[in-house]
Symmetry: C2
Subunit: 216 residues, 2 copies
């Protein structure tokens, strides 16, 4: 089973570490801040206080035996780059690193990071789309042209079937699921009704979605 080492246990790093542990995987967490380490001892396999830029410390912790490394150090860009380099040098198969900006990301890729993530930036995009049309509860980019959105059913859609609403023909949107309270109706049929309070999960082109956003 894959083993994960998470270096930098801030808001993002600790969320990755805890989720992996909950899914049943072994997780070693490392942070330079003793208080943060103490707060995580019961939520991951091992939590260790250490300065991850010290290569001998990482070797002593057996970090080279891990399959996947996550470097989620924020403000200290130099430390983030150095730790990523050390992990790749030690031979970890897959290293993911969090970046502060595009330049930081470029350097991380150059020194061997397998993937670079921008947690705050990506969430900012999703929240902005959500604010533009309050009926749009979530917005997930699939590709430059397509997205998935969760739309609160409009009053004019209540008690109508998908066939009557002609979502595909009129709005260019494909309804993939309907969330009704705690239930989810997956791949609804043309004769399924929309009820008040329903949330439609639709996929479509961004230009069709933006047209609907303006209309809502």
């Amino acid at each position: 089973m894959k083993q994960f080492v998470v270096i930098g246990l801030g808001r993002f790093g600790s969320s990755v570490a805890k989720t992996l542990y909950k899914l049943g995987y072994d997780v070693l967490g490392i942070d330079i801040n003793e208080e943060i380490v103490q707060s995580l001892v019961d939520s991951i396999t091992h939590a260790v206080q250490a300065d991850a830029t010290d290569e001998n410390t990482l070797k002593a912790l057996g970090v080279r035996n891990f399959d996947v490394g996550i470097v989620s150090i924020g403000d200290d860009i130099q430390a983030s780059i150095l730790v990523t380099l050390i992990l790749k040098d030690m031979g970890l198969k897959y290293v993911v690193a969090k970046a502060q900006n595009d330049l930081h990301a470029k350097v991380l890729y150059k020194i061997g990071a397998d993937r670079v993530v921008f947690p705050e930036r990506d969430m900012g995009i999703r929240v902005a789309h959500n604010l533009v049309a309050s009926n749009i509860l979530d917005y997930i980019e699939l590709s430059p042209d397509f997205s998935i959105v969760e739309i609160q059913a409009l009053p004019e859609w209540y008690d109508k079937t998908l066939r009557e609403l002609q979502m595909r023909v009129k709005h260019g949107l494909n309804v993939m699921a309907i969330k009704r309270n705690e239930d989810v109706i997956v791949s609804p049929g043309a004769e399924d009704f929309i009820k008040k309070g329903d949330i439609l999960v639709v996929v479509g082109q961004n230009k069709d979605i933006e047209k609907l956003e303006k209309h809502i």
Copy 2:
């Protein structure tokens, strides 16, 4: 047209502000740090240097005339709470605030925040699921039991139709779209083939997805 004020232009706040502006909305950005303000003057309608906890300053900037407020101040929890309170007192219809932890979120809701977001935590969950099965490119929770995942097509699925693969019957998963290079095939039919390099966007129960994650 809705007008937005974003207070705290860190990684998350600036992403929200820039995205709203790109979508064609008026955006006022406020930050206590002059350098950050300067870096955004060309990307949003107005960028102003100010301490947002000073009520008179916010009044002088006409913040009460905005429809939606976003408070994305991080480390200074007291400032985040104070600014959220001031915005609601001024009568803004909808205020979203970013929280550092559950306690902070509880206080924000108590003083009137309409929505509280945890950008780092939510992205941590998505990245963790992605790491568990490297074929899972994205993981979006729809409800406690259902999720949308993007799965890199497995070699055993190449050149087979969806009917042959029986995704629904065998894995309990509904294929909503197929990403092939820059194209997206929405609501694929039973006779559509899977090709090498395809990414399937599927919706299903978390227990079925986790079964597939272990199998990949």
